[in-house]
């Protein structure tokens, strides 16, 4: 099977003065893939996204975008769109005017550029003729996404696209990104919202201090992860706690901070041990009413890999 790469980066380094923003970063993103970029503040995510958008050039390393080697010149291949550090919008223009001005800038006709279509995709049709000045952060994010969609990108770069989104906006954005990926567009997005990344991304890259500490499918990340904490709500918490204490590989965590009510307690275990506990609870006639990780596997891995576990 042949895999088409939208991004192939090898050994990318970028410094700002004495600050090393990226240090030998590798990144592979195939077409039709939604790839998440995770890392603490200052990890180099925005710098990497900026390189992909053609806002800067790497000091060293190899970068190939949509099949084209990116050289020293300030340029990104055609078919790349997106935003970093928030979408660029002009508050004195309406949503439609912002998009029409962009379409005209690229030589398109505002009537045929698909402005109504992209506004509909991101759920902003009702406010199309309102000035962007009054838009909330979430609406601005969606309008920024609409602006990127106007170019019919084959590689979409989004920096924190979920910031400020309400549930409806989040649904619109997720729907758009999923459809784009299904149509073959590669999406690289950064986010601090682990639930979003888990819902959208097939692969993630975790950056810490400019270096890649993990890159690959989420399933691989889960397999590499350490024990996780799980909230367990049952019909008989006392009996369930006793079973947990007797199950090998399962520890009851001091959950006084986490626990909201007496029916819930927190256990720490790897997946096989947790499976065994659940089986025993069910066999004992105790109903399992809730079983969920206290933090998501991705977040747990992120914290572990970026040495922030101690902060939990």
């Amino acid at each position: 099977m042949e895999t088409l790469h939208a991004v192939r980066a090898g050994g990318i380094s970028k410094c700002f003065g004495e600050v090393v923003a990226l240090d030998g970063v590798d990144l592979d993103v195939t077409q039709g893939q939604i790839h998440g970029l995770v890392g603490p503040n200052g990890a180099g995510k925005t710098t990497l996204l900026g390189l992909l958008l053609g806002l800067a050039v790497a000091d060293s390393g190899r970068l190939e975008i949509l099949g084209q080697q990116v050289g020293r010149a300030f340029a990104a291949p055609d078919g790349v769109a997106g935003f970093v550090d928030g979408p660029g919008l002009y508050p004195s223009l309406t949503a439609r005017q912002n998009l029409a001005a962009l379409a005209a800038l690229r030589g398109g006709d505002a009537r045929t550029a698909g402005i109504d279509d992209v506004l509909d995709q991101v759920g902003l049709t009702d406010v199309a003729d309102d000035r962007a000045r009054g838009f909330s952060l979430g609406m601005r994010q969606r309008l920024g996404l609409a602006a990127a969609l106007l170019t019919r990108p084959r590689l979409l770069i989004l920096d924190e696209p979920s910031n400020g989104l309400d549930p409806a906006g989040k649904r619109h954005v997720h729907g758009v990104l999923t459809r784009l990926a299904a149509d073959g567009t590669a999406v690289v997005l950064s986010s601090h919202r682990m639930d979003d990344l888990e819902a959208l991304c097939s692969e993630v890259t975790i950056l810490a201090t400019g270096r890649v500490v993990f890159s690959g499918p989420l399933s691989k990340l889960a397999a590499e992860s350490r024990e996780l904490d799980y909230r367990l709500r049952t019909s008989d918490p006392g009996a369930a706690r006793r079973l947990a204490a007797d199950t090998a590989g399962v520890r009851i965590v001091d959950d006084s901070v986490v626990r909201q009510d007496a029916d819930v307690f927190v256990v720490r275990a790897l997946t096989p041990a947790l499976d065994e506990l659940v089986a025993q609870v069910v066999r004992s006639g105790i109903a399992v009413r809730e079983l969920a990780p206290v933090v998501s596997p991705l977040e747990a891995a992120f914290l572990a890999l970026t040495d922030q576990e101690a902060g939990r």
Partner: protein, 449 residues
Amino acid sequence: MTAVAVAERTVTAPPVSVARGYRFELVKLVSQWRVRLLVLACWVAPALFVAGVSQQDTLPSDTLFGRWMHATGWAGPLVMLGFAGTWALPLLTSLVAGDVFAAEDRLGTWRHLLVAVRSPARIFVAKTLASVTVILALVAGLAVSSTVGGLLAVGNQPLVGLDGHLLSPGDAAGRVLLAWLCALAPTLALAAIGLLGSVALGRSSMGLLLPVLVALAMQVAQMLPLPVAVRLALPGYAFISWNGLFTSPAQLTPLLIAVAVSLAWAVLATALAHLLFVRRDFTNPAYDGSGRRAFTFGVLPLAALTAVTVGAVAVATPSTGSGIEQAKVQKSLAIVFAHLYRLQTEQLHRPAVTEAQLRTSAACTKSDGQAAQEGAGNDWRCVVSWHLPGVAVTGSAIYQLDITSDGRFVADGDGPKEVNGYFLVRTSTGDAPNPLWQFDGNVELLETQ
């Protein structure tokens, strides 16, 4: 094993053309309420101002040509030009050119713009052209509106020139147009300084204020007793030297020098702004381009240009003094008096005389002869003498002159009352003060060829 291949060959997207970028920038500028209000104000307010003032009993006689606003509609746009050179144009250039780059910093839209246009150099050209277009539209508004207001309120009458000679309406129209065109040169210089400030100082309000501050500094400098070479080498002098278009012959040398200096400032400041802009690192969102290096990079070359132009003007026109010398004051006053005497003669329906017949001369002293007989000051006292055909007695009249450093003077008649005192004269446009009572003139600072 998965074979790896790259996507089909992709070409680098070409940068957006300057024409499209220009249109994009214009759309953004015109969408701002501030710019819309400025355009409206510049196209409406001058007409109302000129028409209103022209109908007042008291005219703005402290402004050049202000005392003639009741006599001709062509005085209005010149009064407006004097006001614009002092206040309006520096302010307009500040609000448009001084903000055109900084606005992107405030909005955080640089990266968006760079991704869309793909060429910092083209962004710079488009922004520069768009801001210059808006500034030109504002200047055109000031000129057209004040002219229309003047012509509608007063009419298409001859204009009394700065040396007292009468300009036909057609001639006046041409010179008014030329004067406004000459004022474009220092306006462009201020616009370029605004661009430079906007690029070099980023979000700082100093960037927005830079053209106003520079214009203010230039005005203060023009009030100081500077050598002529220094005065002419400052970019704001073209806001003054257009006065020379309204003498006969026109004082073109200082005007051309001032226009050339202004254009040199415009070119250098724009080039510096371009250089700073294309070298800016846009990957760092916290960095808005400002900094000591950018400031130094912008200021030092302009200081060097000033030094070079001062040297060049000093060599080309060896005028290192104030340019206001006794002989030139006397000559200038005599010429204005002769022209206005003819005007007064006509208004009083006396037998016509020519300037040659009048053989006017003036004898001027400064500080009653106690100080050096040169330089600006309000202590010049002159006695003007003239002859009338068939009259043996030589006429004489006394004037107090207030001469400013830029060579402009106001002559105030000090008797005899029948000649240069205050009385009203009936003219075709209504009663007007005796033209020999108080009048404007200027001393050509450079040596006349």
